[in-house]
Amino acid sequence: MKKILILGSGALKIGEAGEFDYSGSQAIKAIKEEGIETILINPNIATIQTSKDLADKVFFLPVNPEFVERVIANEKPDGILLSFGGQTALNCGLALDAAGVLKKYNVKVLGTPVETIINTEDRDKFTEKLAEINIKYANSKAVSNIDDAIKFAEKIAYPVLIRIAYALGGLGSGICRNKNELVELCEKSFAHTNQILIEEYLEGWKEIEYEVVRDKYDNCIAVCNMENFDPMGVHTGESIVVAPSQTLSNDEYHKLRAVALKVIRHLGVVGECNIQYAFSSSDDDYRVIEVNARLSRSSALASKATGYPLAHVAAKLALGYGLYEIQNTITKTTSAFFEPAMDYCVVKIPRWDLKKFNRVSTTLGSSMKSVGEVMAIGRKFEEALQKALRMLEIGVGGLVANKNIRFNDLDDSLLKPNENRVFAIAQALKGGYSIDYIHTLTYINKWFLYKIQNIVEIQSKLSKIAQDISPDMILLAKQYGFSDDQIGKITNIDPSQIFSIRKANNINPKVLQIDTLAAEFPAQTNYLYLTYNAAIDDIIFADLYDSTIILGSGPYRIGSSVEFDWCCVNAAKTLKNMDRKTVMINCNPETVSTDYDMYDALFFEELTLETIREIYGKINPKGIIVAMGGQVPNNLSLALAKNNMNILGTGVENIDRAEDRSKFSDLLDKIGIEQPEWKELSTKEDALIFAKDVEYPVLIRPSYVLSGAAMSVAFTLVMQLWSFHHKEHILKP
């Protein structure tokens, strides 16, 4: 093998984003280590994998059979990797294979064979393969008349779910608990369509995932399992996810693990694969929902959650290595054939931008709407959950004490999965709803609800104590993930005072390492997180003295995505070349910028003043670079400087002058640069007067925002009022 072609995933889209930049980049590095030439096809200029010093050759061309064939014809690679560029690369690879292109040019598909990929992608073949080894899968069948519907429903037993293919918003679909209900609904449905899908009704079942790896010698491991907070019915990309699973007993965990290994062996995967289950504890029963025989967003999450570099290992396996022949890159003394033991828990929460679209349904379901995600690490579920919510950058300080989140119909917000459901649960508990009732509405496992109740209880205790807060109470709140701001809000004490009490009483977070083996072996890398549930730090901070902190961009959202990872990673590389130590702070699991091997230290942490200040205080760096991570670090720069942190690059007063519309426009006036007439206003009345003066249309533009959030052109009086209302809504959470 001298030359290998890697297919990227092209443009970022919902469901296919930075995780494939991560997996492709790791694959390129893993192959280059072997002295093999790498060629990459990916038209996405904002990715790190297309940077100069990664692949030997990059083609900025569409990832489709036509262009890829031309590259193959010219470059004549020996092998091709299909599983590192998401569905785009996989589909392209399958098409090339079907068209005989790979055979024609003698290009070998490395890793999982094409036949296996087809067997996982084609539903009929997939269920056939599972049936061969007596593995259960979600039963479903397309029928075109009532008799067939009844026959199949009786075969799989009631209740069943009826779905209509291609029906918008679930029109005509529903649950039938007996024959009468089925006949009734079928009659309605067949009025709209001539084919319906009868499916096993698994609502309320847990959704569990395993990331499994297999080498060519048939050695298998399950690197990580994950449990969805939201039960079946919500796409795993739309769910809050926790790793490892929290509510599975040993028998359940290992039964599903054994099924995963059996399936991956039978299918013949070589490399990485993701398997999703529906699982019911009370029935002690499971269904395989799907298998992804490629790297995925879940595998990126699993990599970051455990420290196990799945994409790197998958690439090595594709080259023919055995798992035991690959080094554990964290301990550097053990091999890649092991299953990580975590001594922390991880919470992933998706980031939605639904508010940017009019008339979009906010109900979550089986298709993805989220545009990004965050991952938080803690030694209590409550701690990780509250950290993750802050990381989302949606204007919340944690699970509770958010004035901007209100519910008109709490029961409805619990019943229908939506982006604010976790807040609705807290609200409901506060309002006296019982755990049982919330469970009945949401099917969310009670263990999660008990944990949320702990947070609510601490909030109510804090608000009772208020000004009389004791250091012990602050410590307790910190252990459950409350920020200084949150505690301040609840107790009516200035957050800076909470900070002072903390410092006076030595209440500080500790820095712990992610080491893949729960401290059984020492870690050689600084993959780090902060927690208040520890007594000592894992690392010696002197090693990071005088380093440069780079702030990342947090979760992807509309207007901020992989381009800022490119900036951060390249800034770090440049600094490294200058022999400077680099420290990254970021919380997005689907990116290269959170690969621990890119920096001297990676803090998988919140991009908040409080957290950055704690890290800064511990490592005593040279300063912070805020210019690489987009709007989030920019917005923090003033506060960071005010708290005596050194900002490198453009001074904060100049950042402020560019961001603050009024100061910016002032400056333009002063230096004689033309601009539209403007005025900074803070009341509706003044705005109306000004608009009347300058004549419509006018543009309303808030300061410090990302890609025009809350910006509107006001054509009429009515429009303008709406805009103002909208602006207040977003700017004053």
Binding site: P244, N250, E339, M342, W447, K451
Partner: protein, 366 residues
């Protein structure tokens, strides 16, 4: 709902006098033993009910414990998910305790189960710090001190712990099939159920049982607590049994007993293997398995007698994980093929054992 659980404080003191303050669950009395850590992320009921932990205080490195309560305890191995009918360990140390649990098999909380078994537990402890201490200094003696009722350190490795955990009476499980004589050194229930699932009869006998008293087709030396060198009479029995043609399987302590009988020696490891992710490799093959382990002593296989060969090695530290006889059906593994807690990847060990039993009986019949 009681977020703070029991707020009664207690502390763990190590033999180097390092002290960890935490809050109490389970039974409020002082207790001492050898402090060890286990890195398994699930299966605390199985781990805690494993008799091999006799005399030990176990630190669970996964921080969230108690989430799904504890299943029902029964004396018949086939009727319970637990690994024995009582808790043998001397205490547990955890970080975050779930006061409220949720699971269809959970009938009581971890704390109430510990209480009923008169075992104390400590939570709100920095278990990572404790684990690192044990990793760097090796396993240490320690004591959980409640209400300032101090007590002496206790070293379980000088005691005959097997005598304390082995069932005193002979008991037969299953009606039909070949009879496996099971030397109960503190046997986990799953070993018995794995045998029964494969259609044999199991006769569980006390550790000091004279095997000449009964008819049997094969022998299994079970897992158990303590220092294998202490159990000299058991080693003598193993030596005699090796001379016969009966299939023999050794698991964990049973493996160590067999290895001494086969001429090898054992030694105490700095901090042992306790967890569900220990990688082992089979001989010179490319075959690797993830195994469940719980042992503080290991076998030095350099001086195994003629006729024996190393079967498995640990991929992390190259320690011995099993050996077998070159001509006889004697199999022996350091890890736990019965799993529980842990991965079930090596249950083929039981298949091999049963196949050997069936093969032998066919020979004798013809």
């Amino acid at each position: 709902m009681n977020l703070y659980g029991n707020t009664k404080k207690a502390r763990l003191v190590l033999e180097n006098m390092q002290s960890f303050e935490g809050k109490l669950i389970g039974y409020p009395h002082s207790s001492s033993g050898e402090v060890v850590f286990n890195t398994g992320m699930t299966g605390y009921p199985e781990t805690i009910s494993d008799p091999s932990y006799k005399g030990q205080i176990q630190c669970i490195t996964y921080p969230l414990v108690g989430n799904y309560g504890v299943p029902v305890s029964k004396s018949d191995p086939r009727e319970t998910l637990l690994e024995s009918d009582k808790i043998h360990l001397h205490g547990i140390i955890i970080s975050d305790y779930s006061v409220e649990y949720s699971h269809s098999t959970g009938i009581e909380s971890l704390s109430s189960w510990l209480y009923a078994n008169k075992v104390p537990g400590l939570y709100d402890i920095d278990t990572r710090m404790l684990t690192k201490t044990l990793r760097e200094n090796g396993t240490m003696l320690g004591k959980i001190i409640v209400d300032d009722n101090d007590l002496e350190f206790y070293d379980p490795n000088t005691d005959n712990l097997v005598q304390q955990v082995s069932h005193k009476e002979i008991k037969t499980f299953g009606q039909e099939g070949k009879n496996v004589l099971l030397y109960d050194c503190g046997c986990k229930n799953s070993i018995i159920t794995n045998l029964l699932d494969r259609g044999v009869k199991v006769t569980r006998v006390p550790w000091d049982f004279d095997f000449n008293k009964v008819d049997f087709d094969a022998v299994l030396f079970s897992n158990g607590p303590g220092n294998p060198e202490v159990y000299t009479s058991l080693i003598e029995k193993a030596k005699e049994l090796i001379k016969t043609e009966k299939p023999i399987l050794g698991i964990c302590l049973g493996h160590q007993i067999l290895s001494i009988a086969a001429g090898a020696t054992t030694y105490k490891m700095p901090y042992g293997h306790r967890g569900q992710n220990q990688p082992v490799m089979e001989g010179q093959s490319n075959k690797c398995y993830i195994t469940s382990q719980n042992h503080g002593f290991a076998v030095n296989d350099e001086n195994l007698c003629e006729g024996w060969s190393t079967w498995f090695k640990n991929l992390n530290d190259n320690t011995n994980e099993g050996f077998r006889h070159k001509s006889k059906d004697i199999l022996s593994v350091q890890f736990h093929p019965e799993a529980k807690p842990g991965p079930v990847d090596t249950t083929f060990i039981f298949d091999e054992f049963i196949n050997a039993i069936n093969k032998i009986s066919k020979l004798t019949r013809s």
